[in-house]
Symmetry: C2
Subunit: 352 residues, 2 copies
Amino acid sequence: LFVRLQTSKENDWKESLMYSAAAAQKKIDQKTKPLGALGELESLALQLCHIQQSLEPIVDPARAIIFAADHGVADEGVSLFPKAVTTQMVQNFVAGGAAISVMARTFGVALEVVDVGVASDFDRKLSIIHQKVAHGSHNLLHTAALSPDQLVQALGVGAQRAVDAYKSGIRTLVLGEMGIANTTSAALLICAYTGLSPELIVGAGTGVSGPHLTHKISIVQRALARVDGKNLAPRELLAEFGGLEIAALTGAMIEAHSLAQIVIVDGFIASAAALAAVKIHPPCRANMVFAHQSAERGHHAALQALQAKPLLQLGLRLGEGSGAMLALPLLRAAGSIMCDMASFEAAGVSQA
Amino acid sequence: LFVRLQTSKENDWKESLMYSAAAAQKKIDQKTKPLGALGELESLALQLCHIQQSLEPIVDPARAIIFAADHGVADEGVSLFPKAVTTQMVQNFVAGGAAISVMARTFGVALEVVDVGVASDFDRKLSIIHQKVAHGSHNLLHTAALSPDQLVQALGVGAQRAVDAYKSGIRTLVLGEMGIANTTSAALLICAYTGLSPELIVGAGTGVSGPHLTHKISIVQRALARVDGKNLAPRELLAEFGGLEIAALTGAMIEAHSLAQIVIVDGFIASAAALAAVKIHPPCRANMVFAHQSAERGHHAALQALQAKPLLQLGLRLGEGSGAMLALPLLRAAGSIMCDMASFEAAGVSQA
């Protein structure tokens, strides 16, 4: 049973054995290595096969997409950094000086920066995707962060970036975000979706501690109390607590599923978006590769709620898609093992 | 205080601030990210700076060097695979079909395969480094695996590969091995150097379990008993229990230190070699980056003895340098962050 598959190049097709989970397992078990010796890289390879319904998964080209937006709740003093840093970091991304910029160059990945809701107005000539839905979200302490219409627009911006990537032949989305105060927004979403208490989920973010952390927790508690007893649907919770960049991430993750794209999920904030995406559209979980266990307090709980075992444990807590980018080489290795590694038979190697 | 540093290109120099640990810490703390937000990638970046005594560490070009040899103890039936697999896998490495071959291509790294003691004779035209010291080691159950002269030769083969890499401008050695039965040899070295009992250290290797594993443990116990009370020096223990490929790895690791090369240490067997190297010449520990925590039972204890916290935890147990290769992109990212990421001041980003 053979199918024709498009490779990463246009008009370039190859024949492939028809995919099934059993066929993929059989293929990897015949590679020249002790059974299971590549550990989690093997599970990863099988997931890539499943996402693309192919025995020859293709990881590249990948694209890093960073959604940026400001947060009304920043006015409550939940971050160590001033709100202006969202704007400044977008400029740093484009100038090539941020961690994600440097890593993207190192790994040969194009970087797309999307303004989905930064408070300041960028020069239209700045080479970012200008899709500002609003000048930041509302202050979620007092009201829903996003209006129903803003939620639809932000989800749409994310979905559109996945579609654009698809049209460009992109196989893998490395998703990230920037937005001062967005660990507060992400913590709220995780609390709301899991039912866990803010004390377990709210963490240091950019580095708050002591009374400052207590204050951040109290903001989250009060915001949660605002919707207490309302029994809101997953989408409604996203509007209540999600920033514009988180909603855009959610939209990209949902759309990526329908496009059979591989999605690498970064840390705390991206995982909150992943939780929203899975609550809204459960099948999209299948396309998600979880990059890392971050140092942010509530990340472990978010990953557990997603039944996710992340690839890396490096104590990262930066965002920007930096952890997702660091996991990309593991996907490349897993894909190439499935495609290019010899079988015992082909290599003339004796079996156990 | 400036020094001139050669870059990866010949006759290409750049000025750099003089290295000190404090200067490196200060440099990374000024990058556009919350303090410490890149977690273990930051410690790694600082280690690379220390190894090269530079604030602009250079990771590439890297070279993967795989030392292959056979083991007399394979005759005791300690592996699931026949001894012929060592030879067959060397051919698979060269043909490009093994896991390490595929990963090396994926990550753009040259692969060098060294016959330091495979039992069969290879065609001299096979594009490997022909440095056979013997047709396999002696059976360590009954006698020392290596004669004093063989030990010197095998250490020398490894040292020579580090020197050759240095002359080729290689900055990073990705070190691996192939040798049926070498988890038995490695387990013995770890027991001998740490004093831990074989039950804690001997593991599944290629996949032995049940009575087969009990047999493997008993072989290690009996071999250890052979040297009981002799109070041997680290080098003598390496001759007693080390295979030729393990001694070559040890030689490469010791030499790499004097050449200021970065050494990426793979899994169980490479860690046994690292332990030997550090016992023989403690300063060489500084140049070792530990790639991963393998699934092999005794690896954790070996890493603890080396005071090493590995970068990856992927349940790998393949060898060949495959885990070391998977860690290389993290070194590339760490190096590029140190060299290319913007400071708050340069990027015009507000600080906390």
